[in-house]
């Protein structure tokens, strides 16, 4: 009973992710594509939570669908309206695209069937404190390097936006 319920939830989430990802590619309106990408991000976040990585899932919600997606939608909206117009979507390379896609699917399928299933990973009872512990002890150097990288990106963004003289 519980197992059925669990797999049902998994397939539901997978359906949301695949449907919205397909929508991103096939939708002709760019804003709709960007919004569907948000739905895809949320689906991936739910998948993380489903797989017992709650912290990663919440971070996905906050950073991707709460931050990245909004920037993407804004950028798309600022593009001049009416430029895109109705398109038929094709560019005359449908056959080649199908060939590449099916080759890719074949390779991925072969890899999945050829490799043995990985054993169930380590499930942490309290992955927030364990993550914090690891970040500030074992992996403190990469953590600090990432922080410095982000800081320089932040300052760079301000200088780019403000111009050399003002900042």
């Amino acid at each position: 009973m519980t197992d059925i319920f669990y797999s049902l939830v998994f397939y539901l989430i997978a359906l949301v992710i695949i449907a919205s990802a397909l929508g991103v590619v096939m939708e002709k309106n760019l804003v709709h594509s960007a919004l569907l990408m948000t739905a895809c991000f949320i689906g991936v976040g739910m998948l993380y939570i489903y797989l017992d990585a709650e912290f990663l899932g919440a971070a996905q919600f906050m950073l991707y669908s709460g931050g990245v997606a909004i920037l993407a939608v804004m950028a798309v909206m600022l593009i001049k309206h009416g430029d895109e117009g109705p398109r038929d979507g094709g560019n005359g390379r449908a056959l080649r695209a199908i060939a590449v896609a099916s080759a890719f699917a074949l390779v991925i399928g072969m890899i999945i069937t050829a490799l043995p299933y990985a054993p169930a990973g380590y499930i942490s009872q309290d992955n927030v404190s364990e993550l914090a512990e690891m970040m500030l002890t074992e992996y403190v150097l990469p953590f600090e390097i990432a922080a410095i990288l982000l800081l320089s990106a932040l300052i760079g963004a301000i200088i780019l936006a403000k111009g050399d003289g003002e900042a």
């Binding site: 009973m1 804003v31 709709h32 919440a58 709460g66 931050g67 909004i70 804004m74 927030v128």
Partner: protein, 345 residues
């Protein structure tokens, strides 16, 4: 174990249901459905009461009488409002992006209602007491930006579009100081779990230990929920009603339902994070203390809203990035030093 009244009642229902239903799963599902129904009742019920309260408080502050015709003392005003909104014509403007326009008011309500699952109403009375409680609440709240932008874009009107842009600017700007302010609370608790945060305030409320964070949180929470004096998203005198401009009837009411759900949830968050949650002297049960504190916070937020004039967008963004964020960072530093000194003593 826990001794919250609602928790004990739930345990009784569980025991009574178990022989009838036969299986643990069915009982759990029933209890969950009951909890969800209660939560929705709370959200919609509070919206009904808050519409009246808002107008009464506003009238009191502006030395007016406020609604006093429908029912005794105007108490049935919100019911009359609701009937009016439901019977209104559903106007669909031309040239809109139909799908997004319809979805926006519905989606706006989802994050506002969803975070109620993580609020501890009493000892043991919490729908989902997850490990990452506070972080999940913040993550879900951050989802409420996009529906505003969607509504603004889909309406295909200048005012709505400006309103949508303003939402993004102000919500992103104030999310950062809010998270940093709450970092102080998390550092003191050592956990993101909501029940643990309340537990840590058994002796001292965090408003005493984190006064700076409390003030920053109050400002940021008002901005995040578009409450006056920070409601420049709708700013009637400038852009009519922002993203809501093109909506009528029940669709428009959904935006307001979400707004009042947000007012209640920022009051609940202030109470839970800074005012000791359901803790209080013994003579009243925890739930009552919780309700009293939340109502006081609702009144305080309304008081702030109707006392200060609305800010200008550029002033507000400058204040968020250049004043609140540095103060919040200093607060994190001070809290760190404080914890270090406290441990060393």
């Amino acid at each position: 174990m826990h001794n919250g009244i609602l928790y004990l009642v739930t345990q009784d229902i569980r025991e009574a249901l178990l022989p009838i239903a036969g299986s643990e799963i069915i009982v759990n599902l029933t209890i969950m459905a009951l909890g969800i129904a209660l939560m929705f009742g709370l959200v919609t019920g509070s919206a009904l009461i808050f519409t009246l309260l808002e107008r009464k408080v506003c009238a009191f502050i502006q030395v007016r009488i406020g609604p006093n015709r429908v029912g005794p003392g105007g108490t049935l005003q919100s019911l009359a409002d609701m009937l009016k909104l439901m019977s209104k014509e559903d106007i669909v403007p031309q040239g809109i992006d139909m799908w997004l326009w319809v979805l926006s008011p519905a989606l706006i309500f989802v994050p506002s209602a969803l975070i109620y699952a993580m609020f501890p109403f009493d000892d043991g009375v919490i729908f989902a007491d997850v490990n990452i409680g506070l972080f999940l609440i913040l993550a879900i709240t951050s989802q409420s930006v996009l529906p505003f932008l969607m509504g603004g874009y889909a309406s295909n009107s200048k005012y709505a579009m400006i309103g949508g842009m303003r939402t993004v600017a102000q919500m992103l700007a104030y999310e950062v100081p809010m998270v940093f302010a709450l970092m102080g609370v998390v550092m003191l608790t050592g956990s993101l779990k909501m029940s643990a945060i309340v537990e840590a305030q058994t002796d001292v409320w965090f408003v005493v230990l984190q006064p700076l964070a409390f003030l920053i949180f109050m400002v940021a929470a008002l901005v995040e929920s578009n409450r006056p004096p920070f409601n420049i998203v709708e700013g009637e005198s400038e852009i009519i009603a922002g993203p809501f401009t093109e909506y009528t009837g029940m669709r428009w009411a959904l935006f307001f339902l979400a707004e009042f759900a947000n007012l209640l949830s920022i009051s609940i968050m202030t109470t839970t994070l800074f005012l000791g949650g359901w803790h209080g002297p013994e003579f009243l049960p925890g739930m009552v203390w919780f309700a009293i504190k939340v109502m006081i916070m609702v009144l305080v937020y309304q008081w702030i809203g109707w006392t200060f004039p609305r800010l200008r967008i550029d002033h507000m963004l400058t204040f968020g990035w250049k004043v609140l964020l540095p103060i919040a960072l200093v607060n994190v530093l001070l809290t760190g030093i404080g914890i270090y000194v406290f441990n060393w003593l």
